[in-house]
């Protein structure tokens, strides 16, 4: 017997586990002969539902009846707007904090206090000040994704090796050129790590935020389907949330690979 490769054996094991899990689930939810009532739907039901939903993911039949693809698109759009806004502020600010011990010390207490606040705690304040629920959800994403990027950028910039800075100095690079050509690429892997943590947190938070603000988005959809007692749809949404989250993470992992360097 030829020894098969590790990835192949791992894939086989994965599929086996999936089969066992789904089989056990299907068996567990089989109704006993003499009872009736609501039960958690089995994998077969959910699969059926998924095929149905995914055959037309972008239909729009009014406020409470939109395709799963459309709902996910709303959520992704919100996550990306809040996230990109946060990146635009956190990365330059992190640069300043990382380069200046004075700013680092001055801002540290604020960061330490603001960082552990649950982003949803900001929601009432955001709703009151912004007066728009969709924008408030974006603000919540902004506030939750800013911290990992800010802290990682500052840390990455502060720990750029002295040698690289000296190389920049002996080559008479201007401060801007030093920042862009030396510090940024040197700190990029650390910054990308922060960005990857942030996108993960954003995707976690958007579901909760949309359950609060309602209207559109995958969080609202899950809650709405729960109100409709459509559990197959709820479970299907949960799986879709997981898949999209994985996709976002993989995107950032890919970007991380691009800037990674071996010392």
């Amino acid at each position: 017997m030829a020894p098969s490769s590790l990835p192949l054996r791992a894939a086989i094991l994965s599929l086996l586990l999936l089969a066992i899990l789904l089989g056990a689930w299907e068996l567990a939810v089989q109704p006993p002969a003499n009872t009736h009532g609501a039960r958690v739907p089995g994998p077969s039901k959910i699969f059926e539902h998924a095929v149905n939903e995914l055959s037309d993911p972008f239909y729009d039949a009014g406020p409470n009846d939109k395709g799963i693809g459309l709902q996910l698109a709303y959520s992704i759009a919100r996550v990306l707007s809040g996230y990109l806004l946060a990146a635009m502020m956190a990365i330059p600010a992190g640069f300043v904090i990382g380069m200046s011990p004075l700013w680092r010390r001055a801002l540290d207490p604020y960061i330490q206090v603001l960082k552990p606040i649950s982003p949803l705690a900001w929601m009432p304040l955001a709703l009151y000040v912004i007066k728009d629920s969709a924008t408030s959800a974006i603000f919540v994403i902004f506030i939750c994704s800013i911290w990992p990027m800010l802290i990682n950028t500052a840390f990455g910039v502060a720990s750029v090796r002295r040698d690289y800075i000296n190389v920049a100095r002996t080559h008479e690079l201007s401060p801007l050129a030093t920042a862009l050509q030396v510090i940024l690429p040197a700190a990029a892997p650390t910054i990308l790590t922060g960005m990857r943590i942030s996108i993960g947190i954003s995707w976690l938070v958007i579901v909760a935020a949309e359950m609060l603000v309602g209207g559109t988005g995958i969080g609202y959809y899950v809650w709405n389907e729960w109100n409709n007692l459509n559990l197959a749809s709820v479970i299907f949404s949960i799986i879709m949330i997981g898949l999209v989250g994985m996709l976002l993470d993989q995107l950032l992992a890919y970007a991380q690979g691009l800037v990674q360097y071996e010392d």
């Binding site: 000296n166 080559h171 050509q181």
Partner: protein
């Protein structure tokens, strides 16, 4: 020396005292000069302040007193006129070998076209024998190759003065010998003025025109300036058979082992800002009649 290209005048570096007490003096009353095209090595024990001295020459560190004058102008801050090769290659790890060189070339000649920068950089990579591995990143090169890329980068910008801080310290003996030869070759082709730190006596004799001896720190001084009177081209395997070689080597080793500690006591208060004594142990040894040196 009236034709001195680089002149170091009464240089001192002190760190402020932690609390009361006297400030810590790294080195003081350092005076020496270098002429154009000269290869000068400085040797001394670890911690005597050689690297601090080099950083002051590079403009990366500031002297507490005195001045470094190069080509008639005082050094203030780092400049492309002074190339530096650091102890640990210090290549930018996210750039390929060629990009590491061309980044330096581009910052030297900002108006050059991309093609010209590339061609110039490639020429210097070829010069250190790495023309074919330009696309590799530093992590994919051996220690010796990285150091050679560092040499190519430093020579490519054609600085007026090249500063090297123990450039071969991290290399094994065989690789070091090879890179040293590479360095001699490039140096002979470019006639660069070089100031190099080492604590390898044989390396100093092989490479230098003149060796400065630094006493132990703190309060380090430059004790002597030793001419290496061995004709070039020098071959590692040839020079060891010359009588001058051992006279010079013994002189240097004796300084490192004994006199680097006691020199300050012998000359406690030489306040005058003069250049270190020039000694030529090689000349004394050259005559066929071997007499004991007068030292």
């Amino acid at each position: 020396m009236s034709d001195s290209f680089v002149k170091i005048e009464n240089l001192a570096r002190r760190h402020p005292a932690p609390k009361e007490g006297a400030p810590l003096v790294v080195f003081e009353r350092v005076n020496f000069s270098m002429s154009k095209g000269e290869f000068v090595c400085i040797i001394g024990h670890s911690g005597c302040g050689k690297s601090t001295l080099l950083n002051v020459l590079a403009g990366l560190d500031q002297a507490s007193e005195g001045a470094v004058i190069m080509d008639g102008r005082e050094v203030s801050g780092p400049s492309l006129d002074r190339g530096v090769i650091f102890q640990n290659h210090s290549l930018l790890p996210w750039k390929s070998a060629l990009k590491n060189v061309s980044f330096a070339v581009q910052s030297r000649w900002r108006d050059w076209s991309r093609a010209k920068v590339r061609e110039h950089s490639q020429r210097y990579l070829d010069l250190v024998g790495l023309g074919s591995v330009g696309a590799r990143r530093p992590a994919q090169l051996s220690g010796g190759m990285r150091q050679r890329v560092g040499i190519a980068r430093a020579f490519a910008i054609q600085p007026k003065l090249l500063l090297m801080d123990e450039p071969f310290g991290a290399l094994d003996a065989l690789t070091r010998g090879m890179v040293q030869e590479e360095l001699i070759r490039v140096w002979q082709q470019t006639q660069q003025t070089v100031f190099m730190i080492t604590h390898d006596v044989d390396e100093a004799i092989l490479l230098a025109d003149r060796v400065l001896l630094m006493t132990n720190g703190p309060n380090a001084r430059i004790a002597e300036s030793v001419m290496i009177d061995i004709p070039r081209p020098r071959e590692r395997t040839q020079i060891i058979h010359r009588p001058e070689y051992y006279a010079i080597r013994n002189h240097l080793v004796e300084f490192l082992v004994k006199r680097s500690k006691t020199w300050r006591e012998q000359f406690p208060d030489d306040d005058d800002a003069r250049e270190p004594v020039l000694v030529r142990p090689g000349l004394d040894a050259a005559p066929a009649a071997r007499t004991d040196s007068p030292h």
